[in-house]
């Protein structure tokens, strides 16, 4: 460690042979990280809510299917899931569709990472949503039914609005996880933040890995902190007075 040449200005240096600077690589990486994390989060929230709700449905067949979905996506590592979507799926599809995925699909790494990360996270969101619904007193559902609501109406107007408020804290950590897990997408070649970090510290090396890695780690810390604050704000906004952690 003694003869390590410190140089904190490394990211402002110009990439040899171009008129780009290394910090521009990091910014572009940050852009992809945020894009893939946010779009995957939208997929995860929508699908996860549907599947989490389905797991509590009285229909055994529907609930069983939803359970199978959650188990499938929870018990295979994310990196393996991304490889399945990226390398295996095109081979399993009919020739024409497979060829389209391999040759003419726009932004293949981005869309694969978005869908793969979205589905992976949706299983986790589903578990949280289910827990939230199960945490409500049984009387809530019966009260809704007694009012003459149909079951879908009970979910829409009685159960889900309360369940979502209960699960905001665990959803906060899932939202933070989406940003962290997006780094796995470098394995299928998405040029996100960690990919760019490796690029700068790798072959093109100005060879100051510690400085670059510190900067990238700080960016992830800022992202995690921002998500945390945003969710805390939402939690305060939607809380029900006199209920759960409702305060006043």
């Amino acid at each position: 460690m003694g003869n390590y040449q410190w140089n904190w200005h490394v990211i402002f240096e110009e990439v040899a042979g171009t008129n780009e600077h290394y910090y521009q690589w990091l910014l572009s990486g940050l852009g992809w990280t945020v894009a893939v994390a946010l779009s995957a989060w939208v997929i995860a929230l929508i699908l996860g809510s549907l599947i989490g709700t389905a797991r509590t449905a009285p229909n055994k067949w529907l609930a069983g299917l939803a359970t199978a979905y959650v188990e499938l996506f929870r018990n295979i590592p994310l990196i393996v899931q991304l490889f399945l979507w990226f390398f295996v799926l095109p081979e399993m599809l009919p020739q024409a569709a497979g060829d389209w995925m391999k040759q003419s699909m726009p932004l293949p790494e981005f869309f694969t990472a978005m869908v793969g990360l979205g589905l992976f996270t949706s299983a986790r969101v589903a578990e949280q949503v289910r827990t939230g619904i199960m945490a409500l007193p049984r009387g809530q559902k019966n009260a809704g039914l007694a009012m003459g609501f149909t079951l879908p109406q009970v979910y829409r107007h009685v159960l889900l609005p309360m369940a979502f408020r209960i699960v905001i804290p665990p959803l906060t950590s899932e939202f933070m996880n989406v940003f962290k897990n997006s780094a796995v997408a470098l394995a299928i070649g998405l040029t996100e933040l960690t990919f760019q970090m490796r690029q700068i510290t790798g072959e093109y090396a100005p060879s100051n890995p510690i400085e670059v890695m510190t900067i990238v780690s700080v960016i992830y810390l800022i992202l995690a902190f921002s998500v945390n604050r945003l969710m805390a704000l939402i939690e305060r906004r939607v809380r029900v007075p006199g209920y759960i952690s409702g305060g006043k």
């Binding site: 460690m1 394995a187 992830y220």
Partner: protein, 220 residues
């Protein structure tokens, strides 16, 4: 749809087994060191010494906020720089996972310790136990017992996460399968096999943890 040649798996069974053994060893090592270190961290977090508890909280929050892939790169580069030896991807991963997982195990152990009623601590003190004796004989055995299912669930997550050592080229189960996949041009077969192996193991273990949880809950 293409014709699949599954014979690539038996042909490379030895190499795959070697990768799988590494995944298991890494999981076992990180679990053992992670729980030990995590317990110490949890005690530090709950300590009345503000400096100690802030340091431990900082450690935990730091590792819980950055991606594991990034931490793997960190230690892949730092371990050789600090020790002066070219230890390689496989061995640097032992350090990575032990240090990283400790942060997660710490939070579980902290919840376990906090689930013990205050009276237990008072009772231990009344018997003349020192802090460490109190922890060793009264608090930790009960805390540990309460969170065994959570610790095991975290270990299943850890087992799946070890597949990320792929990014520094280590030969774990995924790394081994990937090398053969590229050598024999058998991507579909190899990745599918890896997915099935991970699924069967993780699913079976998580079922077992669920049963254990139910049994412990009844006794308590």
């Amino acid at each position: 749809m293409m014709q699949l040649d599954w014979s690539a798996i038996p042909r490379s069974a030895d190499f795959l087994w070697q990768g799988f053994t590494y995944s298991l060893t890494l999981t076992g090592f990180a679990m053992t060191v992670g729980i030990l270190f995590g317990t110490i961290l949890a005690m530090a977090r709950l300590s009345s010494n503000a400096l100690l508890s802030n340091l431990a909280a900082g450690y935990v929050n730091l590792f819980r906020s950055i991606p594991l892939v990034l931490v793997i790169f960190w230690f892949y580069i730092l371990v050789p720089l600090i020790t002066g030896y070219d230890v390689g991807a496989e061995r640097s991963a032992y350090v990575t996972f032990a240090i990283f997982e400790a942060a997660y195990y710490c939070e579980i152990m902290r919840a376990g310790i906090q689930s013990i009623s205050r009276g237990q601590i008072g009772a231990g003190q009344a018997l003349g136990f020192t802090y460490l004796q109190n922890m060793r004989y009264v608090i930790l055995p009960q805390a540990f017992r309460n969170v065994v299912p959570l610790l095991l669930t975290q270990t299943i997550v850890l087992f799946q996460d070890t597949s990320l050592v792929y990014v520094v080229g280590a030969t774990d189960l995924l790394g081994a399968a990937d090398k053969i996949a590229h050598r024999d041009n058998a991507l579909v077969v190899m990745y599918t096999a890896v997915a099935v192996i991970y699924f069967v193991i993780s699913f079976t273990l998580s079922r077992a943890v669920k049963r254990l949880h139910a049994r412990i809950a009844v006794i308590r």
